[in-house]
Each structure stands twice: as C-alpha cells, then as structure tokens.
C-alpha cells in the first residue's frame, strides 16, 4: 500500500488509496520526534485497512527546514584548503540591505574554532600544486575529532574538477567515525563560497535527518512485520517497507539517499504542495497559478507560469535564512505566518503576528492548552471556523476559552471581535507581501493569475488576499488540507545528476561525441541508482540537458540536449537577454540528466452532476463577522456538494481537513472534480 505523509509544524497529513478512493488522515504533529506522528498514523491506517502488503511510504518533511531556520542542526566542523578557512564567514562580502546603516550578518553555521585548513592546493585546471601528506591528514582528523563535531563538511578549491584530495580526507574522516559531506559529491560546481555553504548545510542537517529517517524506517518495518504476521501472506519473503522522501526539486528518493544528502530536502513539504496544486489546476483547466499554502506555522507561495507537468521551474540560487543553498529546488517563497502564529503587541504598540507559532503544542487557545492568541483563535471568534471543530468534529474547539484569554490580551482593542479582526488583518498583510514578492516584484501581474489555496488555513484567508491583490479567481482544491500529501503521493521517483565539463563548442557536431560520452557516464550512475530505487533500465525516463553560456560569461542557460543544441542556446540567449552572437564560441559548462521512474497515479474521482442549488449540503446557519459587521452565514458540508452547485457568500464550507470562507460579495462554483472556484460577483 502506498501512503504519503506530509509532516507540518502543526499536523501530519496522510493520504492513501483504498479501493481507488483517496483517503485522508490528519494527526497532530509531534515536533519532539516527528516520526512518532507517522507511527501513530500508520497504526491507525493498518488497524482500519487490514492487510496492506509491503508498505510503500513517501514522506514530505520540514525536519531539515526547521533545523536550519531555528539553527538546531548538528555540531559541524569544516575542513578547507589552508588559507581559506574563513570563506564561509566572508561570504560574497556584500551586505543584504543597501540603505541600512546597521549592517547585520548572521553568524556562520560553523564557528571559527571548528574550521580547519589542510595544506593542499590544486590549480584552476585541477592539477595538484600541493598534495596533503598522510601525516597532515592524520593531524587534521585528530583536530576535527577533538573539536567534538558529529558531522564534517569538506570543501577544497577546484575539487569539482579533481576530487582526489577531498576523497582522501573524507575517507580518513569516515574511518574516524564521522559523518562526512564532501563538496564534490554534494555540488560538483564552481564558486567556492556557494559550494562550501551548500556542503556545510548538508553536514549540518545530516545528524538530524538520519536520526529522523532511521526512526521512520524502523517504525515502518515494525508495522510492516506486525501486519504480515496477522495476515495470510506471512510467507511473503519481502517484509521490508520502502520509505521515500520528497526532494525540493519535486521528485522522491529513497530514505537512504536522502539521509546522505539532506540538503536536497529543504523544501520537501512545500514541493509536494506545488505538485498537488499543479495537478488540480490542470484538472480545473487553469494555466497560470499562484499557490498559497497556509499551514499552522508558515505559509509557502509560488508562482507557476504554465500548468504543464514535468516542466516546473527550478532555481539553484535559493537562499534559506540568509544562507545560499545552491542545489536545484522549486522556486518557493516562505513566510513565518500561519494559523498557529501568535499575535502580540510590540513595544511601539503595533500589533504583530508571527513568526512565533503556537504549533501543535500547546497550540492555539481554543485547542485547550495554549494561552496566547493565535490566528486560529481570531478566526474562531469571528465565526469563520465552525465551533463544532476541525477534523469532522474529532477535534473540538473551545470558544469560551478563546474568548476569555483573548479578552485578557486584547490591549487597546475595543472588543474581542475587534482584536480578532486586527489579528486576521495583520496576518493577511504578511501573506499579501509574500505574494507580492513572487508576483509584482518579479514583474508578474496578480490579475493574470488564479490563487490556488490550500493547507489547513489557506481557504480561510484566500478571498481576502485575492481582494487585496486584485486576483480575480480563487481555486480551492478538493482536499485543501492535504494537498501537499496528495502531491507527494503522485510524485515520481527522480534523481538528478550533473557534472561540470567546461567544453568549448564551435559547431554542434564536434562536441557531440564528447557529450555523448559524458552522458553515458551519467547514465551508468543514474541507472545504478534507479535500480536501487526499484526501477529497471527500460522503465526509467531520462531527460538530458546542458548548461550553456558564451565562453567568458558566468551564468548559464539550460537547454535540452538535442541535435540542434547550439542553435537552441543562441535562441534561448536571444529570448532571455535580447541578443545572440552566433559568431561567439560558446561553452557547455554542465551536463545534466534527470532520471525518472513513474509511480502509479491515483486520480481524483469525478463528482455527480447536479443543479446550482447546494441546499442538500447545508448544515447550519450562524453569525460571522465581516468588516466589523455581524452577518448571517450559512455553513455547508463539502463532501455533500455536487458538480454544478453554487454558493453565494457569506458562507462557510466545512470539510474534514479545512474550512473554506466565502466572504460577502464572492460566489463559489463546484466543478466536476470537486474543486471550488471562487469569483467576486460583479
């Protein structure tokens, strides 16, 4: 049985298929040990579903991101070429804010006393100028061990051309029992600071991530065995469970591979959301979307130019909390505001929301333990979340408690409702800004896009945001509270390999033989790794691409490797920069191959068609606050809605994993896949 998990700050979402139907389960996250929630969910799923054969798990995780954001990774040492121990701290020597006299720089992940130089040096062609002596290697290993590091990053100058010296020290360090991240393996590309930074992030996450993954594998195996014992098929030899992890680039990969290169999972959960959103947008026939994934702790937004699958834009210039991470990732922007974000007045009397979050523990006030007002409490006070509670009533909300504590914290606000409205407004402003960063600031007009809202709280805030940004349409997918998990469930197994080759090209033909050779090398590695992932040669799809530039430039354009790749490069350059110089020699810097193994794709079943009236799904009438006024608001049950139903705001649509708010002036229409398309009434 294939089960997808998305571990968020507040909830762990699970999605799986039973009898061709998509099933959803939400379990409160267990931040102390994120694998525990997965174990609880597994137990529950297995109890309800009986025999499920070998387990096939795919997980999206925020373990890496959180460790990096909160600076709670492992104790790392760094070994560099002697004389360059400070490259990590100097960075690119520029400041992040131009017009700020109070220049601040984040401290590096590895402090000075754990950075060690080894006397070794290559020239720019990869020839050894100075090889490290065995004695010096031994001395460096001793120093690293003495420093108390549990994980080590190694990054030498020009190791992307000649990894020999890195390999030697790496193997010596491994023998000493340390977990080693070597830059020629993590990111064999030029520019020492970005490579060092990325390798250090990897080393920083290795201890945290291997612990987490080992835990998941252990409990998956345990559940799998237990399950088999009780079934008739206990003779099946294959008792192991398969665990795969979502990568930031949009493909999944075995837990073992992920444990070695956790830097590739930094945007794991959000990447699942993008795949899910892209899928539902495709179903709804929408091309340009802005994804808005509001969870309990944070909100992720991304802009997708075209809904075509397999052509998601990745960037290798991601910066996570001021740290460059140069492995390819989907282009996602994150802000620290979500349903669990805590509201407070700052010293100057301004109301602030986030980035502190009540998380799952203690949670918002209305969950029964928290004492600080969170966005969810504000929504409850305003009547935007039904009192009956979340998760189909499995999770009741205590409105009296929320009112009591919020009254205590409301400060200068005239009433609890005004305070609550203020909290919602400020949270919306934070998220509006995030969407501006990826749209307006990059020259995209939000009016041309559809907002795809998901995550536990996305559909509650989407229409307000759309109004603020002039976005004409909001799409709330069928299962907004578990869309990331759905995306993960649908993800293909993918492995990206690249190699820096720096080949000068004058015509397409002269380099083809050399390039073919490079690709066949990549292919050998790729097939080997895909076999380990369970895919034989003929079931693996390969996409080949080249990073090209004019000789002498510093930035490359990626073009597919085909017969006319040189011409393709010139036209790509022309399109991007407005000119091409067909007489200038160009250069292939990197060859890239993506190996994909297709996984079975569960489909969302179609709904029965019906007329516009949604009366049969009406649950109740209540009062909710909009712009300071109480208005009668109808609440509908999402699972009873049929294709063609229309709902005019103000209204709430309740479902297991989320609530959709349709404000006054908006109308929702249910499409045949159960998506709700919201538009403002003219």
């Amino acid at each position: 049985m294939r089960i997808a998990f998305d571990t968020g700050g507040t909830f762990t979402d699970c999605v799986y298929l039973r009898n061709g139907r998509i099933q959803i389960l939400k379990i409160p996250s267990t931040p102390g040990n994120p694998a525990e929630a997965i174990s609880i969910a597994l137990a529950q799923i297995l109890r309800n579903n009986g025999e499920v054969r070998p387990l096939d798990l795919a997980c999206g995780t925020t373990v890496g991101t959180n460790a990096l954001l909160q600076r709670q990774g492992g104790r790392v040492a760094l070994v560099t070429t002697a004389g360059f121990e400070d490259v990590l701290e100097i960075g690119r020597q520029a400041r992040t804010k131009l017009y700020n006299l109070f220049v601040k720089k984040q401290p590096p992940l590895v402090p000075r006393e754990r950075r060690f130089g080894l006397r070794e040096r290559l020239d720019s062609e990869g020839r050894a100028l100075l090889s490290p002596s065995p004695k010096e290697i031994a001395r460096t290993v001793r120093a690293v061990v003495r420093s108390g590091a549990e994980s080590v990053a190694v990054c030498f100058l020009f190791s992307f051309i000649n990894p020999e010296n890195e390999r030697r020290i790496a193997s010596a360090l491994s023998k000493a029992g340390l977990q080693v991240s070597a830059s020629h393996e993590i990111l064999p590309e030029h520019r020492e600071f970005e490579r060092t930074s990325t390798t250090v992030v990897n080393a920083y996450l290795v201890p945290v991530m291997s612990k987490y993954l080992a835990e998941i594998e252990r409990c998956a195996a345990a559940h799998s065995r237990q399950n088999l014992k009780s079934s008739f098929h206990s003779s099946i030899r294959k008792t192991g469970a398969r665990v795969r992890i979502m990568q930031s680039s949009g493909g999944i990969l075995s837990a073992r591979a992920a444990a070695r290169e956790p830097v590739r999972t930094i945007l794991s959960g959000p990447a699942g959301g993008i795949l899910g959103a892209q899928y539902v947008a495709e179903l709804a026939g929408v091309e340009r979307i802005i994804t808005f994934d509001m969870g309990g702790t944070s909100t992720d937004v991304a802009l997708l130019e075209r809904g075509r699958s397999g052509a998601l834009a990745t960037t290798s210039e991601t910066i996570v909390s001021d740290i460059p991470v140069a492995v390819p990732m989907l282009d996602i922007h994150t802000v620290g505001a979500g349903g669990g974000s805590i509201a407070r007045y700052d010293r100057a009397g301004a109301l602030r929301v986030g980035p502190e979050s009540a998380g799952a523990d203690p949670g918002p006030i209305c969950y029964g333990r928290g004492e600080k007002p969170a966005v969810t409490d504000a929504n409850l006070i305003l009547g935007r979340i039904p009192e009956a509670g979340l998760l189909g009533g499995a999770f009741r909300l205590d409105i009296a408690r929320a009112r009591e504590f919020m009254d205590r914290e409301k400060g200068s606000a005239a009433s609890v409702e005004k305070f609550a409205q203020g909290i919602v407004d400020v949270a919306n402003a934070v998220m509006e800004k995030a969407i501006r960063v990826i749209s307006v600031e990059r020259g995209h007009d939000p009016r041309d896009y559809t907002l795809v809202a998901f995550g536990g709280a996305g559909a509650l805030h989407a229409c307000d945001l759309a109004s603020a940004l002039d976005i004409p349409r909001v799409l709330v997918p069928r299962i907004p509270g578990a869309l990331s998990a759905l995306g993960i469930l649908r993800a293909d197994v993918a492995k990206d390999l690249s190699r820096t080759v720096r080949l000068e090209i004058r015509g397409a033909t002269d380099a083809r033989a050399a390039l073919d050779r490079e690709f066949s090398k990549l292919q050998r590695d790729g097939f080997k790794q895909m076999l380990r992932e369970g895919f034989a040669g003929n079931s693996v799809r390969i996409e080949r691409a080249l990073d090209m530039r004019y000789s002498g430039q510093s930035y490359e354009l990626m073009v597919p490797y085909a017969r006319d790749y040189v011409r393709a490069f010139h036209s790509a350059h022309e399109q991007r920069y407005g000119y091409a110089d067909r007489a200038r020699p160009c250069e292939v810097v990197n060859v890239r191959a993506r190996f994909t193994g297709r996984t079975p794709k569960p489909a969302i079943p179609k709904l029965e068609r019906s007329g516009p009236s949604a009366r049969r799904s009406l649950i109740s009438q209540s009062q909710a606050w909009f712009a300071g006024r109480r208005q009668a608001t109808s609440t509908y049950a999402r699972e009873k809605l049929l294709a063609g139903n229309r709902i005019a705001g103000p209204a709430l649509v309740m479902e297991y994993s989320a609530t959709t708010l349709i404000p006054p002036g908006w109308t929702g229409r249910v499409d045949v896949y159960g998506n709700i398309l919201l538009e403002r009434r003219p």
């Binding site: 709670q72 000075r112 002498g552």
Partner: protein, 553 residues
Amino acid sequence: MRVDPVRLEIFKNLFHSVAEEMGAALRRSAFSPNIKERRDYSCAVFGAAGQVLAMGDHMPVHLGSMPMSVTAALNALQLDPGDVALLNDPYAGGTHLPDLTMVMPVYAPRNRRPLFYVANRAHHADIGGANAGSMGMSREIFQEGLRVPPVKIMERGRVARDVMSLILANVRTAREREGDLTAQIAACRIGERRLLELAAKYGQREVISYGRHLLDYSARMMAATLDAIPDGIYRAEDFLDNDGVTAERQRIAVTIRIHGKSAAVDFTGSAPLCSGSVNAVEAITWSAVFYVFRCLLDEQVPATSGLMRSIRVIAPEGTIVNARPPAAVAGGNVETSQRIVDTLLRALSRAIPARIPAASQGTMNNLSFGGSDARRSPAKPFTYYETIAGGTGGAPGSPGACATQSHMTNTLNTPVEVLEHAYPVRVLRYALRAGSAGTGKFPGGDGIVRELEFLTDVQVGILSDRRELPPYGLSGGKPGITGKNELIVKGRARVLPSKCTFYAPAGAVIRIETPGGGGWGSAKSKKHFARGKSNKGPALEKRQGQGTPSSES
C-alpha cells in the same frame, strides 16, 4: 486624479522590478568578472523629465549620480527611438572614466516624445590610459583613459560600428569590452521592453502619473524624516590620508543645517583640488548625500529623485568635492565618496546619536592589475579590477559586521575559482583580519587579509585610504585598525603607500589588509564585549587577540 495607495505600492514595485530585471540581464550576459561576478553596475528607470523613478539595489555611488548622466545625454544629443547614448566623461554626466553609462529613451509606438528613459552604468575593467585597469595614479584626467562625451553607441537599433571601433582601439581588452558593452545595450532593451509592456497594460497616462506620484511620495517621506531631526547646525570634518602625490591630508568639511522639513548640506571649507586622483566631481558628492539621507528612511521607501527635493547641496567649485577639468578623478569616485559619507555621518551623529554607527572601513581598497597572459597562445592581454571589503562600524545596539562592503559600494568578491580560471593569478589567502576592529560597547567588524600571487609580470595599481588615519569610533568607542598594503618579492616584504602604481614580476605576492570598523560606546565592563546574542546552534567563538566572541545575531 486620486492616488490609490495600493496602486502606488504596485507601481513602486513594478518600476523597481524593471530596474532589477535590467540588472539581472546585464549580470547574466556580461563577460568581465567585475560585472558578472562582482556586480559593479547599476540600472535605473527615469521619467520623461529625467527624474529617477526607480533604481535597482545596486551601487549607491552610481545611483545618486545617474540623473546627471541622463541630463548630460539629453543636453548633448537628440535621442530617437532605438538610439542609445554612451558616456563616461566625469565632466559631462560621468563619475570616473571606467564607469561607462548608457542612456536609452523609451518611446511608445507612434509617440513623438519618450515616455521614459532607462540607463545603466557598469564599471569596466579597463578604459585605456597610462595604467592597466585605469585605476592607478595620475595627475590629470588625460592619463586616466579614454574620455567619452555623450555619443550614440546605437542608432535606430543598430550598433554604431565607428564609435565602437574607436573605443575598442583605445582599451587593453577589446573583446571583453565589446561583450560587456553588448550586454549593457541588451539590458537597456530589456528595460525598454518591460516599460512598454506596462504602458500597454495600464495605459500610458496611468503609468506616467504613478511615476509622478512616486516622486511626490518619496519627497513627503524625506520631508517627514528631516522634520524629525532636531533643527540646528551640525558640523564635522574628516580627512583622506593623502592624494598619493603629496603627503598632505585632504580635508572634507561639512555643515548640515536642518530647518524644519528641509536640509542644506554645505561643503565649504573642504580642500582645494589636489594633485592626485582623489578629486570628486559634483555628481559623486551628490550621490554621497543622497545615500546618507536615504539611509535614514524606512527601507520600503523608493529611492527616487523626489528624495532630494528638500535637500540642498552646496559644493564649492574647484574643491575636492566639485572637481574641474583637467583634474584627475579616478579615486574621487571610490575613496573620496566614502570619506564624504564618513563626514556626513559624523555631523549627523551630533543631531541623532542613537541612529548613527561609528565609521566603517572608509575605503574601497581598489586593486587593479593587467598584463599579458602567457598561459594562452598567443599570449592574451588582460586587466582585472576588484575592491576588497572591510569591517563596518559598531552601532548603538549592535556590533559591526566583519568583511562586509560598506556605504558607497556593495560589490561582491570574485570567487577564487573564477578568478584563477580567468587570469594568471593565484590567491594564497583570503581570511578575516583578526583583531582589526575598534573595541567598544558595540565593537566594529574585522577587516580582511587578501594575498595574491602574480603568475606573470604585471602592472599593478592600488587606490586605498585609511592607511594612516583610522576609521573613527563614536560615543567612547575605539577607532578601527588602519589598513596596510605590502609587496613580497622573493620572500622580502615591503610596505606600499596607500596609492601607487608599479610593475611586479611573476612570483611577486601582494598582501592587502583592510581596515576594521570603529567601535561604538565605551567598553567599561568586560561583558559589554559580547557581540550580540548567540543563537542556540553555533556556539560563541573566540576571537584571537581580543578574547571577544565574534558571532553576531
């Protein structure tokens, strides 16, 4: 027409993103490390009357002075659709000769007047003259390189080959220059394309009027900021070590008069024109004033010409802050500009002490070299230019940053792996300069030590300062440690002057140690040495020589 605050915000971002996008195109398609890696360029969008509507977050020293380039181009030339003007003459809209500026009008189809102008400026690694890299010692502008008054580098969409050939014949690295100039033209066209898209989408009238609203908006923001500074007369002076020719200190004097919502910034009393190249043209002085006052505003305020509406700059002609021809000016742009900022901040620290940090390194440590690369056959001429970061000043409430560019520059470093691949040079060391920061309640940041070995015979130019007079501390903080330049030939080191040009043989090593930032507040008790709170993750680290932790939060 009513101003819609949401629209205003959107247009602010739209214009800004046009400038940023021009910058990205320039960086990504340029050829010389100084542009593609170090990002020593700037892009901006101008209204039809030549006022800045938006500037990319690029180089402060360029940005304040770009309007003068546009004005100079418009005064000299009739710019038709598809034309691009090129200039670098410091005495006609430029700053110093290596900065080549392009200005392009943006015409909507069938319009007879441009709707906007776009411009970009890039620092080229060579523009001819006596010194490889065009940033060495000189006494008059004629020695500093090719001087280009506003000319058309592109006419009606076609590159003017004659102008291009004239330029390329006068520089050391023609092929690279041609590539960079092409990238600059392309960046102009990207800006043109994006602005025309905006005009088509929102309507010309709307786009133009929101451009005007942005100017008014920033003018109002500046007025409110000035209003919050106590009225009064604030004076300060600071000095450059020397002009590279004589040993004399070069004085910068300023008097800032704040009166209600306006300010007058008067440089009367500054040194007369000097014999070396640290003369600044007025555009640079203007840029420095613009930068300092822009820093007092919220970061969200757009950097438009409107900001300078209520600020008057008085820079007496024929002084080091308003040079006349034929004075040499290469160092005015990079060194004098930093000292003008130091002086302005020192004056403001008397008005608003809680908002002004101690002095940052106060120099750009300009290093240029060139020669013939014998690794290639036939040997290929090359020139290279870089600036090196230092410590920033401690500030009330937070320590300075180590190894960071400050004030008028924000260029990146060239990665070692790019530098050595492109030029016959080897980096031996690139490290923090421990113990160089000024101590204080909030200490400054440390400078950098950078050692380069030349693999071939080269001509080298250094323009640096703060080698004799250190970056000042404030409120009892100690000054930073001065910088140092050394040349090591066959194991023997000798100290070089702050500004010099010389030939070095293959195998020679140059070592540059950059100044640390000044400290802020007196360090009465030991515990005040802590440089901010440590995060949970990385432990505090020990600094050599001072025993103070150096991580920052």
